[in-house]
């Protein structure tokens, strides 16, 4: 029975071209073979802006695409790092430092960037009370 992993490179590349960034990241997490392939190919994306704001116990990274934007918050938590990416979706990564997790994700985002040019990357100190944000 043929599987996705047995498809020729051309097929895999084309499926990645047809997929959006978030779907590719999910696909990347599904198995090592796909992760390696995606890291080698670096599929095209319309990522245009990366905005990272940090404070002593909180980091917010916002990534913008042509048609959407998503924001991920990383907070210090008593059990590790609280990652939140929408009003209702969040998770505690136990025994993890929020700074390590955030930096790993940002590194992953930057590594996935292909040849197209970003409009800008902002890395800045958080200026407002993030707990009320």
């Amino acid at each position: 029975m043929p599987l996705l992993l047995e498809m020729p490179d051309l097929v895999m590349r084309r499926i990645l071209e047809e997929s959006d960034y978030v779907s590719i990241q999910s696909l990347r997490k599904s198995c090592h073979h796909l992760r390696n392939f995606i890291e080698d190919v670096k599929p095209e994306s319309t990522m245009s802006k990366i905005d990272v704001r940090a404070s002593t116990d909180f980091i917010r990274s916002s990534i913008s695409f042509d048609d959407r934007e998503f924001t991920i918050d990383y907070r210090n938590h008593e059990n590790g790092c609280l990652v939140q990416w929408s009003q209702t979706k969040k998770k505690v990564l136990e025994n993890s430092d929020f700074l390590d997790v955030a930096l790993r994700d940002i590194e992953c985002i930057l590594e996935s960037k292909n040849s197209t040019v970003l409009d800008y990357i902002i890395v800045d100190w958080w200026q407002q009370d993030h707990h009320s944000a």
Partner: protein, 190 residues
């Protein structure tokens, strides 16, 4: 868009015979073969479009009769469609397909992959691109775990070389309940 018109039966003058891997012969109208760059090039090279040239059956060793039947169905439906042009890769991520296409490709993944291989082999760009889009649509919005289920991807978790026990993920990289959006968790460990 409706491009369907009454189809004509192939006659010896305007057709070629292709033979599937299981030995079944199919009479193909030359008009249909225009959608396959592989067949079109072959016909051009051997001048099979000339009536005074003897046409030998074309063996298609990578394609079964079931796949060939499915492909002919596709070629018939798109017989009068304009020549395929590659879309810009940055087009909308919303996946919309013709009802006919949705019904045509309402098949199990393994058959879809076989058809994709056949479309790749015969170089039928419209079919190839459509199946890739359908596959992408099946991935969109799903978590890694859901993708594994949908695409029948086996995790490549390895056993500990000393104990033979599967190596456990540490809690920080567990994917349970993770959204499609967080990048932190890695695939299951090797």
């Amino acid at each position: 868009m409706s491009c369907e018109e009454p189809t004509t039966s192939p006659t010896p003058e305007n057709n070629i015979t292709v033979v599937s891997s299981d030995g079944k012969e199919f009479l193909l109208d030359l008009k249909l073969t225009e959608q396959s760059e592989t067949l079109a090039r072959l016909i051009s090279n051997f001048e099979y479009d000339r009536t005074d040239v003897k046409k030998d059956p074309v063996p298609l060793g990578n394609i079964t009769s079931a796949q060939m039947q499915k492909i002919i169905e596709w070629l018939q439906h798109h017989r009068y469609y304009p020549k395929w042009e590659q879309n810009d890769i940055h087009y909308s991520t919303s996946f919309t397909f013709e009802t006919w296409v949705e019904e045509y490709l309402n098949i199990p993944n393994n058959e879809m992959f076989e058809l994709l291989n056949a479309a790749n082999y015969l170089n039928i760009p419209r079919l190839f691109s459509t199946i890739c889009r359908i596959m992408a649509s099946r991935i969109t919005g799903k978590s890694a775990e859901q993708i594994r289920t949908v695409l029948n991807i086996k995790t490549d978790v390895k056993n500990d070389v000393y104990t033979g026990i599967p190596i456990q993920e540490d809690s920080s990289s567990s994917e349970d309940g993770m959204s499609e959006i967080s990048l932190s968790p890695s695939p299951p460990p090797i």
